[in-house]
Amino acid sequence: MTANLKACTGPARTRPADVTAPDPAALATADHGERTRLLDQYVRQELGRILGIAPHQVDTTGRPMNSLGVGSIAGLELQHRMETALGVELHLQMLLLANSAAELVDCLVRKFAPAGDGPRHGAAVPV
């Protein structure tokens, strides 16, 4: 059993560096490009910590969360860490079913975007 579990942790499981969350106030005032860059960097760090891989190894575009290795408990941990660090609310099911980490980054970018900034989604802009 021990051998099996070791084999299943996969290659290159490293201890990633500490995670530095971006300041929510800075996110709110940054332009769309900078906000995206900061949140992409942060999401990579959080995923790297949970998955035991380096942030630059996190594939943010080509794989759904499950394929990255994020199961329900890891998703719950990710939800808690990001909500605490950024002061936003995330939906666990949305997080787990995201088609890519980039989709999660986009969701966070929208949460910090002032009305009318960046690509519009849904009815976020008040009339």
Binding site: M1, A7, G10, S67, G69, I73, A74, G75, H80, L92
Partner: protein, 266 residues
């Protein structure tokens, strides 16, 4: 385990085989543990029953071991359901039942044109679990998390569950968290909402009489590194079979109904 229909320890798979199964009776729950194949068994895993989407998904995992488990679990699921339905595994078509929350097509997975057969599949770090029943069923298996993860995740649970966890520590706490979480996820898969329903809504702790009405939740023995549970609608099944699927059962071509590897004898 208090008050729960704790299941018998898993049995070693016998070498002799039985005939293909008929439909599962309404008072029985069949649970199949599938261990990720290792070494030569991994090479011999026959993926030819998987459809294009399943094959793509198996290849998409960042860790090859996760992809191998996914492939083995889905080969196992198709071959098991092939036996229960009498159909060729590759011919099975999966559909989604309506979501009980919004009616959208993302509820429980089901076999198309087999309304009396219910199944559920879960996999986590080297181990998969398949549940098959004549009533709606949900199963969940999880590798036991790190202490730090447990600490962070407890706050998302039902207050009654949090209280029970606060009375424990160390390994006992980790195992209790795993038990509560897998019961919860099995139940939420069974009712069809999955985790779109908040984990804090339902109590799946030690007091069985406080569990959600109309469902029976069982703890499934699966070894020291994981926790696993199953939930079925209605009363607790009279017969619960927990078996480990032999690795050889996931290999071999040609695969047809007459030449299929048989299930282990009961």
């Amino acid at each position: 385990m208090t008050g729960h229909a704790t299941l018998a320890p898993e049995r070693p798979a016998p070498a002799r085989h039985a005939a293909p199964l008929a439909a599962v009776p309404s008072d029985r729950l069949d649970l199949w543990l599938v261990r990720a194949p290792q070494g030569a068994d991994a090479t011999a895993l026959d993926r030819s029953d998987l459809d294009a989407a399943e094959s793509r998904r198996a290849d998409s995992f960042i860790r090859p071991a996760d992809g191998l488990l996914y492939a083995a679990a889905h080969v196992a699921l198709r071959r098991l359901l092939g036996h229960y339905t009498g159909r060729h595994p590759a011919d099975l078509r999966f559909v989604r039942e309506p979501c009980p929350g919004c009616g959208g097509a993302h509820g429980r997975p089901a076999v198309a044109d087999a309304p009396s057969l219910h199944f559920s599949l879960s996999h986590s770090s080297g181990l998969a679990l398949v549940g098959v029943a004549a009533v709606p069923v949900g199963v969940d298996v999880e590798r036991l998390p790190r202490d730090e993860t447990v600490e962070l995740c407890v706050a998302a649970l039902h207050p009654g569950e949090q209280a029970e966890l606060s009375d424990t520590g160390g390994r006992e706490r980790t195992e209790l968290f795993g038990r509560i979480w897998t019961r919860k996820e099995a139940y939420l898969k069974g009712i069809g909402t999955g985790l779109s329903r908040a984990p804090s809504e339902d109590y799946l702790g030690a007091a069985r009489d406080r569990h959600p009405e109309g469902w029976s939740v069982l703890d499934v023995p699966c070894g020291p590194g994981h926790a696993a549970s199953a939930a079925v609608r209605g009363p607790a099944p009279r017969v619960v079979e927990v078996r480990t699927l032999p690795g050889a059962w996931l290999q071999g071509r040609p695969y047809d109904r007459t030449a299929a590897p048989a299930l282990p004898a009961r």
